[in-house]
Symmetry: C2
Subunit: 258 residues, 2 copies
């Protein structure tokens, strides 16, 4: 119903809006329609689960603010983080597209998050009404797969130092896509370890080395990127797989996170 969102709502959806545009959604009315179908859920605290595996659901979840991660637990107790999620990212498109209760994948908040939902039926209807939305979401899925492949390369072929550097670069780039520019790394070392397939102990050593190389530094407990150029070159990260997206977005906008 709400084609005219009140100012504060529109405000909270800036990142989602940007992301949809980045993915090629040109019609403003289509975007407004999507935003109009979003129901906000209560905020989620750092380290809490946003989505648990196995449970069937009648709606999809979209991250409005904060950083989250998509992960799976393995029998031996450790967890693998597959990808990080940023404002404007959908968390469980797979549950919508593949009818199965989405294997063992869960989503957890890395920082405090605010999340919204859209009913599956609403989404279907939106896609029917705006076929471009279908393409946009398909594109988002492909992009995710593309990112995952690159990550796989890094995890399976690079030594620990480069692997961690790679993750850090990936993080910076993904934030930029939605217009957030910050040197601070919200992930804990354990998060990075679980994403890179390393032990927390080794990530700690790697981080020490990154500090020695003056690529990173510490601000209280959080890590901070000092020299992004050299970090990227160390990791052999080029971000070319996001180029396509960059072309479509007003690239220089900088918004610092709260």
């Amino acid at each position: 119903m709400t084609n005219s969102l009140i100012q504060s709502e529109r405000q909270s959806f800036v990142h989602l809006t940007k992301r949809l545009k980045t993915l090629g959604m040109d019609s403003q009315t289509a975007i407004e329609s999507v935003l109009g179908r979003i129901t906000m859920r209560p905020g989620v605290n750092k380290a809490e689960d946003i989505l648990v595996p196995g449970r069937a659901s009648r709606h999809i979840t979209v991250l409005i603010a904060g950083v989250a991660c998509l992960y799976e637990r393995v029998p031996n107790g450790s967890r693998q983080i597959f990808s990080f999620r940023y404002p404007g990212d959908f968390c469980d498109l797979n549950r919508h597209v593949l009818q199965e209760t989405n294997s063992g994948v869960a989503v957890a908040a890395i920082t405090c998050c605010s999340v919204g939902t859209i009913a599956h039926s609403d989404l279907d209807q939106l896609i029917r009404q705006y076929p471009e939305l279908g393409s946009v979401l398909w594109r988002a899925s492909m992009l995710e797969a593309s990112i995952l492949r690159k990550r796989m390369l890094s995890v399976s072929r690079q030594p620990a130092l480069q692997r961690v550097a790679y993750l850090l670069c990936e993080h910076l780039y993904q934030q930029e896509v939605v217009g957030i520019s910050s040197d601070l790394i919200p992930q804990s070392q354990l998060d990075l370890a679980d994403a890179a397939g390393l032990s927390n102990v080794h990530v700690s050593r790697v981080f020490k080395e990154l500090q020695r190389l003056e690529l990173m530094s510490k601000e209280g407990r959080v890590m901070k990127v000092r020299n992004r150029q050299r970090l990227a070159s160390l990791a052999e990260f080029d971000g070319a797989y996001l180029n396509m997206l960059r072309l479509r977005s007003e690239w220089q906008v900088k918004i610092d996170p709260p």
Copy 2:
């Protein structure tokens, strides 16, 4: 134009047909329309490239027969295999959906392959005409991402023995989805190494161990699965992520590869 395919053509498309049905394409006329837009390319020999990176193209490629792999070369010379492709699989949907010249990903033939192409413009038109085709291809993309995640888990968290066992199970299951049932492993040990993120030397040792455990055996030079059950349990492979698909396919059909 050809809604009435001649018998031999229809024959060569059995796997693609099965795959489309498996993915939820119910209308026979829609399937025939898709098949009608396929142009066959000359066969590709074992170890030859089917698709090279970077080159823009006006059509997408679909694997009709044989086994191929999607891979990327890394600066240091080694290669990472991201996934294997089976009859009925599309090789470069990403190039269609993301306009970019698809990063560094290439496709190579593991065995002799026959491949077909569909012009991007034809595909667009087909999707417009049969919206379900859009969903089907989106679903195929999501499924691929899902498989990739599972693989990532294995690569980053399991020791070598399990990793290789996992790949073998994945291979068997993926072949079954399109109705091929065979114990023989067409991949060379080097292929498996490049997919598992191991050295060829170590894969050789792992294979010796698999033989000792009576899970695998050698037939001339090719490997053969002896005990699939125990192999799957060793690898902690459950194939649940393909369950959804199994429900939709006539599961017991067995077709031995040439």
